[in-house]
């Protein structure tokens, strides 16, 4: 890239220093080549593969297979898990972000919590699964503590870390900090004066939230929710190491097809992956659209 920069030096001549021209796009070729080879091409290949049978001929059978009850079920479970964790994690993350930014807490707490959120939102995958096994697993510390202190066995009461809610509880651990990071700028944009003004005009807290707070935050909240949804939907590592593939989430199913664990049928795998790309694509489109609306308030 520096070489192409020096190459351009002579050609630039007396033209305005920063006037963009078509030739300047050439400098982006290395990047576009790389992105094409390792992002677009693989994704395109999955798209093509989902329309092919094992012999490589055109077929729509893979999409018919997507309608198999167990696959529909796995999509529904994954969507439910993503929505539940995005909602719970989002709500609590919002409360925490509001508390540290506008709640009148000492300033150092905010910088501590934002650092911590950076760490915790990256603390996903295998180590997170281990942490929750050590905490809420069958012999986990909190499980044991509840048993010895209160004689309350959560596993007798139907809880299992390897069930839907166990997984949800674990996902929320990275959803909350992510929410704090995403929503903080929007909360920063809410001026104290708005609240003071509405209080001076006699508005109650509820009125303030319904007529000012929520309308202003709504687009940002929706955008954040979509991101959290996608974040949970695409997560493979945490589910893989927590359930060992017992719950049939979509990413787990795709992984199984790649590894050839069960019913090895790569083309069905491509169709599964294609379905996932569609859902993620739709959410990112929705995200960009909502984000555009959200940025209106931030001016």
């Amino acid at each position: 890239m520096p070489s192409s920069a020096t190459g351009r030096k002579g050609a630039r001549g007396a033209r305005p220093l920063f006037g963009g021209n078509a030739l300047a796009w050439l400098g982006l070729i290395p990047f576009f080549l790389f992105a094409f080879a390792f992002m677009i091409l693989p994704a395109g290949n999955i798209l093509i593969g989902s329309f092919q049978n094992r012999e490589g001929a055109f077929t729509l059978a893979n999409f018919q297979n997507l309608l198999r009850p167990n696959i529909v079920k796995s999509y529904l479970v994954t969507i439910r898990l993503s929505i539940v964790t995005a909602l719970i994690g989002g709500c609590f993350g919002l409360l925490m972000a509001y508390a540290i930014i506008l709640g009148g807490l000492p300033k150092p707490i905010r910088s501590f919590l934002s650092t911590f959120s950076g760490v915790a939102s990256n603390f996903a995958g295998v180590p997170l699964a281990f942490a929750f096994i050590a905490t809420l697993g069958r012999v986990g510390l909190v499980t044991a503590l509840l048993k010895t202190l209160f004689g309350f066995d959560i596993y007798d009461k139907g809880f299992s870390l390897y069930s839907f809610w166990g997984l949800a509880f674990t996902y929320i651990y990275f959803q909350i900090p992510l929410m704090i990071l995403i929503i903080s700028p929007a909360i920063d944009g809410m001026k104290k004066e708005w609240r003071e003004a509405s209080e001076n005009l006699g508005a109650t807290a509820i009125q303030y939230w319904f007529h000012v707070g929520i309308p202003v935050l709504a687009p940002s909240l929706l955008a954040a929710f979509i991101l959290l949804f996608g974040n949970a939907f695409g997560a493979y590592a945490t589910a893989y190491s927590l359930t060992g593939g017992l719950i049939n989430l979509v990413p787990i199913l795709i992984g199984a097809q790649i590894r050839g664990d069960v019913l090895h049928d790569p083309n069905l795998g491509y169709a599964l992956a294609f379905g996932m790309v569609i859902i993620m694509g739709l959410s990112i489109i929705a995200y960009s659209w909502v984000q555009k609306i959200a940025s209106r308030w931030m001016k």
């Binding site: 999955i46 540290i100 180590p127 651990y173």
Partner: protein, 283 residues
């Protein structure tokens, strides 16, 4: 009176949150100390460090993360500078690419890479190069956001114009003017990439590499206390990386931009938002 109530509520929310965050960490730490029956000891950690596989896989992932950092920075820094200086029109296109890893999560990426590169003439699956390429794609949003934020924070045009009128060529402009000013952003990109790649599971396991992530997953299947020790160690590593970024970027008046890793980096898209957050504290 109202303010006091609000502050009290805030404390309550904060404490509840901290309880949820800290409990698994404390529990995991205590659990990791129970390796020897009846006493608290670091025996699980000793086991972890004594396992030759631990060092081997960790070193492998460490190597991969260095390759990823080098390749990623070499590709993305010049591209981002070029976009800022020469083709601002390309910015929306690059932004779309920065969102793509979200639409194509690692599990899909792995699948596509295997399908695209397992047959000759491009049988790259058996070389670590494909793994590194995948990691560069995964790390791209982090690196791009950091560098982009760094470039926005300085007056790139003024700096280059000043440099050129003083007779600097492109080479010395890049290495003696722009890059030194990007130091913090580059370090942030490095640590974020490192924190992401070192324990990465999905690509490593599906492309069948003996990396640290798959090793941890394997240990988790067979043993009880060692996984807890590994979780604590890797939390400490993440904390170390992110903490370093924080410490390095302290004093810079751009909070939130560099710190926010993961998808949060994407959310930082609206420029007005970030400039607002810096001015908001002022009366």
């Amino acid at each position: 009176m109202k303010n006091i109530k609000r502050t009290a509520l805030s404390w309550l929310v904060l404490l509840l949150g901290l309880l949820y965050f800290m409990l698994p960490l404390v529990a995991t730490f205590l659990f990791s100390l129970k390796g020897k029956k009846g006493v608290l000891s670091f025996v699980a950690y000793e086991h972890v460090f004594a396992d030759p596989q631990f060092l081997k896989t960790f070193f492998f992932s460490f190597q991969m993360s260095i390759y990823t950092v080098v390749a990623g920075l070499a590709l993305i820094i010049p591209t981002t500078i070029w976009v800022h200086l020469k083709v601002p029109k390309a910015k929306p296109v690059i932004e779309i690419f920065a969102l793509m890893p979200f639409v194509i999560p690692p599990i899909i990426l792995a699948f596509g890479l295997i399908r695209s590169y397992s047959r000759p003439p491009l049988a790259l699956v058996t070389t670590p190069a494909l793994l590194v390429a995948g990691y560069v794609i995964i790390a791209f949003p982090y690196i791009y956001r950091s560098i982009d934020a760094g470039l926005r924070a300085m007056d790139l045009r003024a700096l280059t114009e000043a440099g050129m009128s003083l007779g600097a060529g492109w080479f010395s402009l890049l290495f003696r003017v722009v890059l030194p000013n990007l130091r913090t952003a580059i370090l942030a990109a490095i640590f974020l990439t490192f924190a992401t790649v070192i324990g990465e599971l999905t690509l490593a396991v599906l492309l069948a590499w003996p990396a640290f992530g798959p090793y941890m997953a394997l240990v988790g299947r067979d043993l009880a206390y060692e996984p807890a020790a590994l979780a604590i160690l890797s939390f400490a590593m993440t904390w170390g990386s992110i903490g370093l970024i924080q410490a390095l970027s302290r004093g810079k008046a751009r909070p939130g931009t560099v710190v926010a890793p993961g998808l949060a980096v994407m959310a930082e898209e609206t420029k007005p938002t970030t400039t607002r957050s810096t001015t908001n504290g002022l009366p």
